[in-house]
């Protein structure tokens, strides 16, 4: 069932692109139209073949582990995904240092850590040092809040 749902999802995505490609005028649209048409045909053929061979539900334990297993582990796994999905948004609100510390510490707590305070201290040190490296060597401008501005001021003072 999951196989068919996923096939339908991909087919729907390709159909959207296909419709969009029909709006492209001239030769610019021909190349993607050919690719999308061939992809859709192969996807349908693949689905039919798998259906006929009853090979749906591939034997991939790693993949199956994403949606099967003890409820508590699945819940913690979902939380892990949610934390990292929210991280970019959090970064725009609280700045790089605070958001990185929060999500890394949150992940550590999710996986279970023997010494939470030590973990927090280690993560904080890593984040501050990494942030200083970003500003002084790698030059990647990250969203900032007051802790980041404090590091900035410190770097400029030195």
């Amino acid at each position: 069932m999951l196989f068919l749902c996923m096939s339908a999802l991909l087919l729907a995505g390709l159909a959207v692109l296909g419709v969009e490609s029909l709006k492209i005028s001239g030769p610019s649209g021909l190349y993607p139209q050919v690719l999308i048409g061939a992809s859709m045909a192969l996807l349908v053929w693949n689905g039919l073949q798998s259906w006929r061979a009853r090979a749906i539900g591939a034997n991939d334990p790693e993949l199956a582990s994403l949606h099967t297993g003890p409820t508590q582990a699945l819940f913690r796994f979902a939380l892990f995904c949610a934390i990292w999905l929210l991280y970019p948004l959090l970064m725009t609100w609280t700045g790089f240092i605070a958001s990185t510390t929060i999500v890394l510490y949150g992940s550590a707590v999710l996986f279970g850590t023997a010494r939470p305070w030590l973990a927090l201290l280690g993560i904080l040190c890593f984040t501050v040092v990494f942030s200083a490296l970003l500003k002084s060597i790698i030059y990647v401008p990250v969203p900032e809040a007051w802790p980041d501005q404090w590091i900035n001021a410190l770097i400029y003072r030195f």
């Binding site: 610019s28 190349y31 992809s39 790693e62 994403l66 796994f77 996986f111 990647v140």
Partner: protein, 501 residues
């Protein structure tokens, strides 16, 4: 004349300061390469201004060290945690991670270091002696040859993977479709942008690749950490490990040679960067191997072919740059900046006007690759310790570096979104049993293929036009033969299975 120049160059390359800058470059390169999102190109670009305070020769030696180190560095995280540090290390991760899971991480890392050094050193020797000849070959490549070469590269991956050919073809088509997002390369008309200006320049390749490999791996590592064993066992073999590597090296002579030739050849082709090279080298090696069934499951030959070809590509990409001023890859393009900063104009007169500096750089590049082997072998014990860290921590840091890496490319959160979508897309494809490798190659080569197809269709209007391009014709014929042979082999295997059942 050449002998005197060569001896002078050797003397300068072996001077303590040259060695110091070479090793410094290697260490910097390894660090940058090992972090997903930080590529060789970025490392070279960041350190070009710093070389201004050095002599031109030392500056170039350090940048050469960074380039070589970053290529090997990308393989470290690929082997240890299946997170390719650079897009070129995807195949290395495929083979190396399987070896690491068997407890052979130090052996895989040692093989990668040695192969990287061998490929780089051989390509540097090729640079030293073959630069003018190979540059002329690169110039003879027009759109028909490029189309033939790109279709050959895609076909070889479709044919060589173990998964059904239909799935491989579908993956390839999906990759090419993804690459068509953004402005079309000829008319500049926007396609599939859905009103988002950020998509006009297409999906960022690095963000997509980070989603395909790094973030997906973080997701699976996190799930594993919540269910089974927390760390992976490692076997350190000490001096016997070195003997094992040496034995493998000697028995893999032809693998090294084939991968080096493939790497140099693809390296000198402008716009074909190191990303797609290991796919071709790996597929070719599988064809020649006596144990093709091991490929993709921790094959030493596969790992050697991949790693050697990537490093050989580095030297190859510098050949057209130095002799014609045409960069063979993005990182090589940044090298132009370094050369011009020191008053050197890449092109035919470079070796005439700055012969001493250039020969010193080339000899030093050979030595740099040898040093890289020693630095790599020395540091293996420390790299492999990563595997002793709890999987949960590794998952968290891989997720962090995936997000940071995709953001750092253009400093925009939009690419992080693209990276998340690429991660979801990878998992969806895995549900459908469509392999990710043909998708990756499609994404990497898509834009170049479309561009050349359009020019090809305009310039080659009839069969006699095509007959006038023997290289393109030979490549098309070779592709057709490989495809036909593979289809025949698979159909025969299918009918044998049906008869047996």
């Amino acid at each position: 004349m050449f002998d005197v120049q060569f001896l002078d160059a050797l003397q300068s390359a072996l001077a303590p300061a040259s060695i110091l800058f070479s090793v410094l470059g290697i260490v910097i390169g390894i660090i940058f390469g090992a972090i997903p999102g930080l590529t060789a190109t970025l490392a070279i670009a960041l350190f070009v201004p710093i070389t201004f305070i050095m002599s031109p020769t030392h500056g170039l030696i350090m940048l050469g060290g960074i380039y070589a180190g970053a290529i090997f560095g990308g393989s470290i995280s690929a082997i240890l945690i299946n997170v390719p540090g650079t897009p070129a290390s995807i195949i290395t991760g495929w083979e190396g991670y399987a070896m690491a899971r068997r407890g052979d991480a130090p052996y895989a890392l040692a093989l990668a270091a040695v192969s990287s050094g061998v490929g780089g050193a051989l390509s540097a020797i090729a640079m030293l002696f073959l630069t003018p000849v190979l540059a002329k070959l690169a110039l003879s490549f027009g759109p028909p040859e490029f189309v033939a070469l790109l279709i050959f590269s895609l076909a070889i991956v479709i044919v060589m993977l173990d998964t059904p050919m239909l799935h491989n073809l579908l993956g390839c088509l999906l990759g090419l479709t993804l690459a068509s997002i953004g402005q079309d390369p000829i008319n500049g008309e926007s396609r599939f942008t859905f009103g988002m200006p950020d998509l006009l320049s297409g999906v960022d390749l690095l963000a997509v690749l980070i989603g395909f490999f790094c973030m997906t791996q973080a997701v699976f590592l996190a799930r594993e950490a919540l269910s089974e064993e927390k760390t992976i066992a490692i076997h350190f073999e000490g001096i016997t490990g070195i003997w094992r590597v040496l034995k493998t090296m000697i028995s893999s002579f032809w693998t090294y040679l084939r991968a080096t030739v493939a790497g140099i050849f693809l390296g000198i082709m402008p716009a074909i960067g190191p990303e797609s090279t290991p796919f071709v080298a790996h597929a070719v090696e599988k064809k020649f191997s006596r144990t093709p069934e091991e490929f993709g499951h921790g094959s030493t030959q596969g790992l050697i072919a991949s790693e050697t070809s990537i490093s050989a590509n580095v030297g190859g990409s510098l050949i057209p740059l130095l002799s014609l001023g045409i960069p063979g890859s993005a990182a090589a393009a940044v090298f132009i900046g370094a050369l011009t900063l020191h008053g050197m104009q890449p092109g035919p007169l470079l070796f005439v006007e700055h012969g001493a500096e250039m020969y010193t750089f080339l000899v030093a590049f050979v030595i740099t690759n040898i040093f890289m082997v020693f630095v790599g072998l020395f540091a293996i014990r420390y790299f492999a310790v990563v595997l002793k860290a709890p999987k949960g921590w590794i998952a968290a840091f891989v997720a962090f570096f995936s997000i940071f890496g995709s953001y750092a490319v253009n400093s925009r959160l939009f690419d992080v979104g693209i990276m998340f979508i690429a991660t979801a897309f990878t998992i969806l494809l895995r549900f459908l049993r469509i392999p990710i490798l043909p998708v990756v190659l499609g994404v990497i080569l898509g834009s170049l293929l479309e561009q050349n197809i359009v020019v090809f269709s305009i310039t080659v209007k009839s069969l006699p036009d095509l007959m006038a391009r023997p290289v393109a014709l030979a490549l098309f014929a070779l592709t057709a033969v490989i495809l036909a042979a593979s289809v025949y082999k698979r159909l025969r295997a299918q009918s044998t299975r049906a008869a047996a059942s």
